[in-house]
């Protein structure tokens, strides 16, 4: 299918470019470039289709290489030297914590796509279209409690306060609220011995293991479990990271119908218009080596919402102040990739996406076992309050 972007005129935009930035983290230990890649593809498509009322988007992407110092430097470059009107598609673990203050001071919005730490959801100038580990993890737990009969879950995460600590802490509160037990098993990110982590769960006597980890280490633990034939000893659940096109090949038959994953956005094979358009945009405008994962969907979504917002503005008055205001004015946008509405608002924290779906690994692919459902967590109290203010819920 032909992609549909922006004005969809089929004409190249030639006016004065609008400068937009994006920061990704692509170096060991992980490639978080899916969001900016998809945003770049979408912007390219927009520029070929009339741009922002005739003005093309000049999208500058920087790689922070997982280095906080570099993250601060490239953000300064984008915000101060290049004078971007906004940041879109950001996907980086370190950059958000380091740069949140800069964005606030410089009054620039970051419409991120690939967030994994608390700082990304608890700042006034950052809004992400992905859920991050907290809602996704709680979503997975909710499914496990309701459908798999979980009584006591282990949350295996990295011993990093604003990542594993944060997410497992709130997961624990959730379990408590539904009268179940949970145990956080935090490990050093450089820990080599995953076998012990598995045994630790065994020693704790849990019945469910949630892998609050990036895909690589999560796979490592699955492999240990397979070796110990632990596929049925525990119920296995995980937030989104394991939902990735490259995972099925690495899992193998053993995990058939044993591994349940919460997904933050749409299934990759969904027929929804936005999902199909994402595929079309990536096919036509993406690079061959661009990853087609959840982050990519998320980047597409951020870029699309961003463009829709700009298109509503007077193209002569597109500057940082106005763009920031316009982004903060976003409310009630929808997409088949999301289970709920997308909104920003002028708040000191943002988490528009918190309802997800559940899939199970089966016969070399993931099958949806539960469609859109929201989570119950007191973490969301301020968020629900926002939604009430914006009249998105009663």
């Amino acid at each position: 299918a032909e992609p549909e972007c922006g004005l969809n005129t089929g004409e190249k935009a030639t006016g004065e470019p609008i400068v937009v930035g994006g920061i990704n983290g692509n170096a060991p230990p992980g490639d978080f470039s899916g969001g900016t890649d998809a945003a770049a593809a979408y912007f390219h498509c927009v520029n070929d289709n009339g741009g922002i009322n005739g003005r093309p988007i000049k999208y500058i992407v920087e790689n922070d290489q997982w280095n906080p110092e570099l993250a601060a430097q490239v953000a300064t470059k984008l915000v101060k030297d290049d004078g971007v009107v906004a940041l879109v598609g950001n996907g980086s673990v370190v950059s958000m914590a380091v740069n949140a203050k800069l964005y606030k001071d410089e009054d620039v919005m970051a419409m991120a796509s690939a967030c994994a730490i608390s700082d990304c959801y608890e700042n006034s100038n950052i809004v992400s279209s992905n859920q991050g580990p907290l809602p996704s993890g709680i979503g997975a737990l909710k499914f496990a409690v309701e459908e798999l009969g979980t009584e006591h879950a282990a949350c295996i995460g990295f011993n990093i306060p604003n990542n594993g600590g944060w997410a497992c802490d709130w997961a624990g509160k959730y379990m408590e609220s539904v009268g179940k037990k949970s145990t956080a098993l935090l490990m050093d990110p450089s820990a080599v011995d995953l076998n012990s982590v598995y045994l630790q769960a065994l020693a704790e006597g849990v019945d469910t293991i949630m892998l609050m980890l990036p895909a690589g280490p999560a796979l490592g633990i699955l492999k240990v479990a397979e070796e110990q034939d632990g596929g049925d000893t525990f119920k296995w659940i995980s937030p989104t990271p394991l939902y990735d096109p490259t995972i099925p090949a690495a899992l193998g038959d053993y995990w058939d119908n044993k591994l349940y994953v919460n997904i933050e956005l749409g299934p990759f094979n969904s027929d929804g218009p936005d999902n199909q358009n994402w595929i079309a945009v990536m096919d036509k405008y993406g690079e061959k080596e661009d990853r087609r994962d959840t982050f990519s969907q998320s980047g597409y979504l951020s870029a699309k919402f961003f463009v829709e917002t700009l298109l509503k503005m007077d193209s002569a008055e597109i500057n940082r102040t106005n763009v920031t205001k316009a982004i903060k004015g976003i409310s009630g946008l929808t997409s088949d990739l999301l289970c709920g509405p997308y909104y920003v608002g002028d708040f000191d924290r943002h988490m528009p996406n918190h309802a997800g779906r559940m899939v199970v690994y089966s016969e070399n692919e993931f099958k949806v076992v539960r469609d859109c459902y929201d989570i119950d967590s007191s973490y969301l109290e301020p968020i629900r309050e926002q939604e009430r203010q914006l009249r998105l819920i009663q």
Binding site: A27, E69, Q73, D81, A97, I160, D188, S190
Partner: protein, 316 residues
């Protein structure tokens, strides 16, 4: 001599005016790590001792600086001094088990210490204004103060350069006095130094302490520059890298440390800026490191000074 003054003057007066704000940040980091590299180079050139935990100590200095910042209302300079002194003390304590070791063993024990630091740091994290001893809370970081006279990035760059210059001068002054002579004798032979009445343990510890002091100062400055520090920035591998770059820059000369700081922070930023793939820039960096270690035994600073000498002779 004039060249030195000229270099410093250009760095302080001219550079901050003509560069983009990203380069202001990059150069601030480079200046700060110059100081840390000088500490490594001091230990190596005077005593042949290898410290593969310098970046970890920079992290320690930064941790203390942040902690003080949130805990106390002292002026920046006072906090900086306290951080430097405590880090110097840590450096000294860490050196105690290492003091009888030489060469590779010593290097490895410091590497093990750096490895330990990395894990402790990632477990306790850097203070961000939370309560308790560790000062970490799940919140966005609080306000890290800068000196009153150096609030802006540009002013902070100047400020850092001045501190770095003072730090280097303080350390370099040792060379021409009693510790310098003692160190030279110890380096040649510990036995001989003892036979000459030198208290070998004391002077070795002194050098470690001084190097730790520079690392702590660097850490404090870094905390002020970035305002928030991340545990991932101070892994053991970085300490090895900083030592390697100090060698490549050339030990025993301030210029060598400046080159090390440049290679450590400016070069990767340049690679990144001209859009070289991060993986490939790692390859280029590694190759350059290997090449420099193999071809320039006295470091790049050594090559430059040989060049200048040849040039001076020609002009005569």
């Amino acid at each position: 001599m004039y060249a030195t003054f000229g270099f410093v003057a250009i760095c302080i007066l001219v550079l901050p005016l003509i560069i983009d704000s990203i380069w202001v940040k990059v150069l601030t980091s480079a200046a700060i790590f110059t100081l840390a590299a000088y500490g490594v180079s001091l230990l190596y050139s005077h005593l042949g001792l290898v410290n593969l935990s310098q970046v970890a100590l920079v992290g320690a200095g930064g941790w203390i600086m942040l902690r003080l910042n949130y805990a106390a209302d002292f002026p920046f300079e006072v906090n900086l001094l306290i951080s430097a002194v405590i880090t110097a003390f840590i450096g000294m304590v860490l050196a105690l088990p290492a003091i009888r070791m030489k060469g590779l063993y010593l290097a490895l024990i410091t590497l093990m210490i750096a490895g330990g630091f990395q894990i402790i740091l990632s477990a306790i994290q850097f203070p961000n204004g939370g309560s308790g001893f560790f000062g970490v809370a799940l919140q966005s970081p609080g306000e890290m103060r800068r000196p009153v006279i150096a609030e802006s990035d540009t002013a902070y760059l100047r400020y850092s350069i001045v501190i770095v210059v003072f730090g280097i001068m303080l350390a370099a002054a040792h060379k021409f006095s009693r510790p310098g002579r003692a160190w030279a004798m110890i380096r040649k032979s510990e036995a001989n130094a003892m036979a000459a009445g030198v208290n070998v343990t004391f002077y070795k510890l002194w050098c470690f302490t001084l190097s730790g002091f520079l690392a702590g100062t660097a850490g404090g400055l870094l905390a002020g520059a970035l305002k928030i520090l991340d545990a991932k920035s101070f892994p053991a591998g970085e300490s090895i890298l900083l030592f390697a770059l100090a060698i490549v820059g050339g030990v025993g000369h301030w210029m060598g440390a400046v080159i090390a700081g440049f290679l450590y922070r400016v070069l990767p930023a340049i690679f990144n800026n001209i859009g070289i793939d991060a993986d490939l820039s790692l390859v280029i960096f590694g190759a350059a490191l290997l090449h420099a270690i193999m071809t320039a035994p006295n470091g790049i600073a050594g090559q430059i000074s040989t060049l200048f000498q040849a040039w001076g002779r020609q002009n005569k």
